[in-house]
């Protein structure tokens, strides 16, 4: 019981800390989308801006890591409250999801920023 309460408190503060970090990243990301979208996107346009850009690589790698913390915690709550799953099942599934977006996310960052 106590360990459940501790786990919940821990999930709560990680969710909030990652949310605070993500606010900054999402705000900048939205700005970049609106700027980069002008007239549509081509691969050459994207890669021309991103390849070899270390600043963007670090920015998006941290962005991915913050998502890896934030998103599964939110999904876990939904799985428990709406999906009727027990906390251990929900945690197992959402940790799998975390692993998926970690690998895909960092691969994506590498794919578009590697020189």
């Amino acid at each position: 019981m106590a360990s459940t309460a501790i786990a919940q408190a821990r999930a709560w503060y990680w969710q909030r800390i990652s949310a605070m970090v993500l606010m900054v990243f999402v705000f900048i990301h939205l700005g970049l989308i609106l700027y980069a979208m002008r007239g549509g996107l081509t691969a050459a346009e994207i890669l021309g801006r991103t390849q070899g850009n270390l600043g963007l690589a670090v920015f998006y790698a941290v962005f991915v890591l913050a998502c890896v913390i934030h998103v599964p915690l939110g999904l876990q709550k939904i799985a428990e409250e709406w999906g009727g799953m027990t906390p251990p099942t929900a945690q197992l599934l959402t940790r799998g999801f975390a692993a998926l977006i970690l690998v895909l996310g960092l691969t994506a960052v590498w794919a578009v920023t590697a020189p």
């Binding site: 605070m20 989308i33 002008r38 939110g74 999904l75 977006i101 994506a108 794919a111």
Partner: protein, 114 residues
């Protein structure tokens, strides 16, 4: 007689936050997958991007930008409620959430055609 149950505005805000978060979570692996195609070269990424040229996908992208703004501003409201001085459910922020999402959605469309 069946009593009329009126959900408070804060429940609508909760639903908006949860559903936008769920939508974004579903989209995230697809988004990363498309971008990861660049690892196989520019032409592969272009092929993946060309799939996003259809009107339905454009509409979905527009929706995602709107959802992202909803989740961002709605999330800021939640953090203010939890960590800021107590000022009720901050319904002004619920209005701001809807308005900023609308503005971002408009800017996205504007950016797309210009």
């Amino acid at each position: 007689m069946k009593s009329l149950r009126v959900r408070p505005l804060s429940y609508t805000a909760f639903l908006m936050h949860r559903l936008s978060g769920l939508g974004l979570a579903i989209f995230l692996p697809l988004h990363f997958f498309v971008l990861a195609q660049a690892i196989r070269g520019e032409s592969e990424l272009d092929r993946a991007l060309r799939l996003t040229d259809s009107l339905i996908v454009k509409f979905a992208e527009w929706g995602l930008v709107v959802l992202l703004t909803l989740h961002l501003v709605g999330g800021a409201r939640l953090l203010l409620i939890e960590f800021g001085p107590w000022r009720g459910v901050r319904s002004g922020w619920i209005t701001a959430t809807v308005i900023t999402s609308g503005v971002t959605g408009f800017l996205f469309l504007y950016s797309l055609v210009n």
